[in-house]
Amino acid sequence: MSEPTTVEPAAPSAAPAARGVTVEFRGIRRSYGTTHALAGLDLTLRPGELLALLGPSGCGKTTALRLLAGFDRPTEGRVLIGDRDVTDVPASKRDTGMVFQAYSLFPTMTAAENVAFGLRMRRVGAAERARRAGELLELVGLGNRGGSFPHQLSGGQQQRVALARALAVSPAVLLLDEPLSALDARVRVQLRDEIRRVQLAEGITTLFVTHDQAEALAVADRVAVLDAGRLEQIGTPQEVYGNPATPFVAEFVGVQNRLPAERLDGGQVQVLGTPAVLDGEAPAGALTVAVRPEALAVGGGGEPGTVVSTTFLGPVTRLVVDTAAGELVVDTVSRPGLPGIGERTTVGLSTERVRPVP
């Protein structure tokens, strides 16, 4: 269920580049017999950026993450971290820190012991381990819970510990495998912002896998949309949302309305009775444009129709209106006086620019 995103400004890339390294997927293929989990992925993560891998189940995003972590070998292609080709390097030697979806904390160890585990593997002394673990638990807001066991912590708290644990070894890359999917909605938003804050503070290159497009848009520097093992589009959240490059991206990221448009003189088009500027090229002939729900408005003139459903989402109300141009989804600021189910109203354009459907 996507909310019309309050798009955050893109994160400043003036993040401390000290820890940030480049990550590269070069020609990655992962096949199982005749099934291709990844069919040729070429992707580069810039130093210090948080890249969200977004897509539906089975699109290959988790496969890509696991290939980077070293839990899987590509059928073809190379994986590079920094300048290092790590394709043949075992998972335990890759210098990545991974946060799993759930239940990844070692149950017989306290939170502090969990966080210190990676340091223990690197033969760091006990006193130093304890200090660093305390530091990291403070960073994620659990400074006083170091002595608790995982089963004594809530889901959100467990994920914070998991994050601290992954960061303890100062990895070159941070990997997040749908870290918020198993959490309650409220905790999810809190932790999402927390992860972003910590990631920016540490300046660490991060790969964030999710199927929730709102999450991806809110947290990432860039979003890469995958479908069926292929990269559909990569760009900033605004680019991906505002200019979907393929029909899949247009449908998957946010909702879009497909409307017929008439060409007018002077490069303009007319949609729902309103003139607008066409962004982008379109082949000659019948023209269809894509319009986001927040770019439509009800009651102010335009195409007449009947309200089929209204959904109150808090700050925004989503109306579905049946018109001659099809069922249109309109997002409007919640206010009294909006038409209810069965009532007649009009749907018009509330923006000046439209783009053709990809």
Partner: protein, 307 residues
């Protein structure tokens, strides 16, 4: 939700139970529903147990006494029997536990629900439930005087029987028990092994742990209560077993059950019936201790998985 003990599938029923709560809230009418079951157990299990206890604690004329119990623990032939029983039980428990755990792990790391898994799990069930008779004869067929393995080994230059081995000895019995203990261990430890989440292994690897470090610091601590508990059950299992010994020999091997049977039939000393019952009481006490320890360990093991 992952459960360690009992290996139950998740409940599929969404409706909440009609009645929960402690004894004040339990309606006595509903208890009637379990009455037949309870009554049956009371008569046919409680009955024999009652006579064992009362017989153990009385003399031949019915007067209360502790002599039998004392005799059962101190008389030389009974002490020897206890020693052998404890030795065989402990040894086969540990051997069975170690090999059973490895086998369970080897089977588990294959594909789930593969024919191999099914065959192993039903075979373990059958071997564990069937009891001593076919087991004893299997080993007679393999390692008896004219057994297949005996003949092969003799052909390969190793004459077991010339070296003093006999299948109907304590050693032979122990060997036979191990055949039984391993499948039981597989059954008992598989749920615990299934409870080892793959995320733990991967997280450990990700943090730089070798396979050995993972096992030592993550997996074995989680498995420890289950392993200990299962070993205890194996111990109790061997301690209580008698069918194999009966089938393998005429009950000539010194064991506690053998001593009980002899005392009852008046084989050794006439009028030893009550001491036999006292021995029975001793056995029950040993196994009770074992089971209580096992249940406590199970509770401990479940702690890691309570959410």
């Amino acid at each position: 939700m992952i459960q360690l003990a009992g290996h139950r599938p998740a409940a599929a029923d969404p409706t909440p139970p009609l009645r929960t709560g402690w004894w004040r809230a339990v309606p006595w009418r509903d208890l009637l529903g379990v009455a037949p079951f309870a009554a049956y157990l009371l008569v046919f299990l409680g009955g024999p147990l009652y006579f064992v206890v009362s017989g153990a604690l009385s003399d031949a004329d019915g007067r209360p006494t502790l002599d039998n119990v004392i005799a059962s623990l101190t008389a030389p032939q009974y002490r020897a029997a206890f020693l052998s029983s404890l030795q065989v039980s402990a040894l086969t428990a540990v051997i069975g536990a170690v090999f059973g755990a490895f086998l369970a792990y080897a089977v588990l790391t294959g594909r789930p629900a593969s024919p191999l898994r099914r065959t192993v799990s039903t075979a373990s069930g059958v071997l564990a439930y069937f009891g001593g008779v076919p087991l004893a004869f299997a080993f007679i067929a393999a390692l008896g005087q004219t057994g297949l393995a005996t003949i092969w080994l003799r052909g390969a230059g190793l004459d077991l029987y010339a070296a003093g081995f006999r299948i109907d000895s304590l050693t032979g019995l122990g060997l036979t028990y191990v055949y039984f203990q391993i499948p039981l261990m597989v059954i008992l430890i598989t749920p615990a092994l299934e409870g080892l989440l793959p995320q733990w292994r991967e997280a450990a690897e990700n943090l730089g742990a070798s396979a050995w470090a993972y096992w030592r610091l993550v997996a074995l601590p989680v498995l420890a209560p289950a392993l200990a508990g299962a070993t205890l059950v194996l111990f109790g299992n061997a301690f209580a077993a008698y069918a194999t010994a009966l089938a393998l020999t005429s009950g000539s091997i010194p064991l506690v059950p053998t001593a009980i049977a002899s005392a009852l039939s008046g084989n050794v000393l006439v009028g030893q019936q009550n001491v036999g019952l006292a021995l029975g009481l001793d056995m029950v006490l040993v196994i009770t201790v074992v089971m209580v320890a096992y249940l406590a360990l199970q509770r401990r093991a479940n702690r890691w998985n309570r959410r």
